[in-house]
């Protein structure tokens, strides 16, 4: 246990935290854009799963990891288009649409996967390696944590200020926030609510798909059923815990990832605590956080309410 405070272990815990954060950051920033536009998308898990599967398919067929990344993004866009069509155009209940999409994604990816590998050994691929940033990765302590990560991890960290800028410093961001707070204001100005929500959901889902794609290309070498293992739900929790603000969501994701990395290392170091308890630590913290956040001042006023002109 005392080993926990050894430098090598602390470096490992923090580097692990960044790796765990990466897929969650992509997906949560995407989901933030979607929810700020008023659509309560429950289909994060299914979108991540489809992104992961598309990445697997293209990585094994083409051998190119970057083509696989593009495939994950396109899969996210496709899933986003379905969600957007159901919620923004058909005005179906957001929860039902999202949950339906998760079921569809679970069944569809498994069916396609089984058809793809039938009668042969499962094809595998070699995923992304860590990229050492010259000079910076040699800095003691900080170097191996921050500057020796997979390329997409840097992109995920950049996504946070980028989404903040989009939401708070651009005209699109202003319109987007308005969609979630008072869509009628846009409508009376002759600006299409449906088109803007459609764009927000497809853009956000592209990022969610990328999160699933990273989970595949950064951690695995093959696909299996229900590959995302509930991470989409963590994203939904992070949005609420982060009070629908980029900084808050970033902190929520980082806290979750740090707890998971800590739990991992504590178990490996033989902590005298049941490992099941350690494993559930991030989830217990999430539930505790939600219970503590009964007031949700940041929640968009029209979140989850289909917009209709009266």
């Amino acid at each position: 246990m005392s080993q926990l405070f050894h430098e090598a272990i602390i470096i490992s815990i923090l580097a692990s935290t960044l790796r765990i954060m990466t897929p969650l950051l992509f997906s949560s920033m995407g989901e933030l854009v979607i929810q700020r536009s008023g659509i309560w998308n429950m289909g994060v898990e299914g979108t991540m799963l489809t992104g992961a599967f598309a990445a697997y398919l293209v990585a094994t067929l083409s051998g190119s990891l970057w083509l696989a990344v593009i495939a994950a993004v396109l899969a996210g866009i496709l899933m986003g288009a379905i969600i957007a069509f159901m919620t923004a155009v058909l005005r179906v209940d957001h929860f039902i649409a999202g949950l339906g999409l998760n079921l569809l994604a679970g069944g569809f990816t498994l069916y396609w996967f089984q058809s793809y590998i039938r009668g042969r050994a499962q094809p595998t691929f070699s995923g992304f390696e860590d990229v050492d940033i010259p000079l910076l990765s040699d800095i003691p302590f900080i170097g191996p944590i921050l500057f020796s990560q997979r390329a997409l991890t840097y992109l995920a960290l950049l996504a946070v200020p980028a989404i903040w800028f989009l939401l708070y410093r651009s005209r699109h961001g202003l319109e987007l926030r308005c969609l979630g707070e008072n869509p009628k204001a846009l409508d009376v100005k002759g600006l299409s609510v449906t088109a803007r929500q459609f764009a927000a959901v497809t853009f956000g889902s592209a990022m969610t798909g990328l999160g699933g794609g990273f989970l595949m290309l950064g951690f695995s070498d093959r696909f299996l059923a229900d590959f995302t293992a509930g991470r989409g739900w963590i994203v939904v929790v992070a949005l609420i815990a982060g009070n629908w603000k980029p900084k808050g969501v970033f902190i929520a994701v980082a806290a979750f990832a740090l707890l998971e990395a800590l739990a991992t290392h504590l178990q490996v170091l033989g902590a005298k605590v049941p490992h099941q308890l350690l494993l559930s630590l991030p989830y217990i913290a999430s539930i505790g956080l939600l219970m503590g956040l009964r007031l949700r001042p940041g929640q968009p006023a029209r979140l989850g309410v289909p917009y209709t002109r009266e």
Partner: protein
């Protein structure tokens, strides 16, 4: 004259028929020439647990035991009531002779076994209950090859620290991990253990993080039961695979694997079904765990393939010697199913 002859002939034929019918050695019916198996999978054929069963069935199909033409149909992963419903559909269709439920399904079999007494039900692995009768309980232990892998790891480790990343701490997972460390400690008493369970059958992100954490604590060889060899590749260390020969997943790191072979288990079940169908022997399923050891072909150690050069000749010879002793029955690998812990 002709009528009398005809009457005698009929009487003789009747007598012969009566003798044949009353003969105790007469087969009850014509010997079956086809065997149709329904398989309930728990994780999918791409998973080592289920995939190795299908591989064994392919081999047995080619070998044609009792001259049987063997066919099968398997489901997608099913659990709980869904698995029970699938079993009922298979049973009611009347097309299947054996329903092989390849994991913890004795709760579902309990509801069906008496209703379909002619069908032989199979449940597999830990967490099941042995009812006997027409339920056979197949168990799989690969602790013997795991012990051999441990011996290799103990000899090769420079840090004297080894890691094992497991799925769930179950009886038939613990036995492997404990045997691995027992083998390692027998080969090198200085060995320290680090153990982790990810509490999932497959979650590559978690598996990867646990493996990386073990490497960070100094482990320089890993017994990987969760199928993610990427951290071993990144750290350029050797790993060991589990349940199937996993060398192809990571040719630069997987030195060998503890391999499960279901062939003797499947043949054991087929023989029981055959004896019932052709000789009228009642089903007599086991109520206690029943497994085939390495000696009986139930498990083996995978070849080293192109990593053989990484293994010093003397270690290779020691492993061969141990393996020979296990196969000859002169050395028994102890079964320890307690929860493995880090030192």
């Amino acid at each position: 004259m002709f009528t009398r002859f005809a009457k005698r002939l009929v009487a003789m034929v009747a007598l012969v028929v009566a003798v044949v019918i009353s003969s105790p050695d007469r087969p009850l019916a014509a010997d079956p020439d086809k065997l149709n198996i329904a398989i309930i999978l728990s994780a999918g054929i791409d998973n080592a647990w289920d995939g190795t069963l299908i591989e064994a069935l392919e081999r047995i199909k080619a070998a044609k035991p009792h001259g049987l033409e063997i066919t099968w149909k398997y489901t997608d992963p099913l659990w709980g009531d869904d698995a029970g419903d699938a079993m009922r559909l298979f049973a009611e269709s009347g097309e299947y002779d054996i329903i092989w439920a390849h994991s913890t399904y004795s709760d579902q079999v309990k509801k069906l076994k008496d209703e379909f007494p002619e069908i032989l039900f199979v449940v597999v692995g830990s967490g099941n209950e042995g009812f006997g009768g027409n339920q056979y309980w197949v168990y799989k232990r690969v602790h013997e090859p795991a012990y051999l892998l441990g011996h290799i790891a103990g000899k090769l480790s420079k840090s004297n620290k080894l890691g094992a990343v497991g799925t769930f701490p179950a009886d038939d997972v613990n036995d492997e991990i404990n045997a691995f460390f027992a083998g390692a400690k027998a080969a090198n008493p200085k060995i320290e253990r680090t153990v982790a369970f990810i509490e999932s059958w497959y979650d590559p992100a978690k598996a990867g993080e646990y493996t990386s954490a073990q490497i960070a604590t100094g482990a320089d060889l890993i017994f990987q039961l969760t199928g993610n060899f990427k951290p071993c590749e990144e750290a350029k260390i050797l790993c060991f695979g589990n349940f199937q020969d996993q060398h192809s997943f990571s040719p630069s790191t997987v030195l060998s694997s503890a391999v499960a072979q279901w062939d003797p288990d499947v043949l054991w079940v087929i023989d029981a079904w055959w004896a019932h169908k052709s000789e009228g022997k009642p089903y007599a399923g086991n109520t206690e765990k029943h497994w085939f050891s390495m000696k009986d072909g139930g498990a083996t150690i995978a070849p080293y393939r192109d990593l053989e050069a990484r293994l010093p000749a003397d270690v290779r010879a020691e492993v061969e010697d141990l393996k020979a002793k296990i196969l000859a029955g002169t050395f028994e690998v102890p079964i320890d199913v307690s929860d493995p812990k880090a030192d």
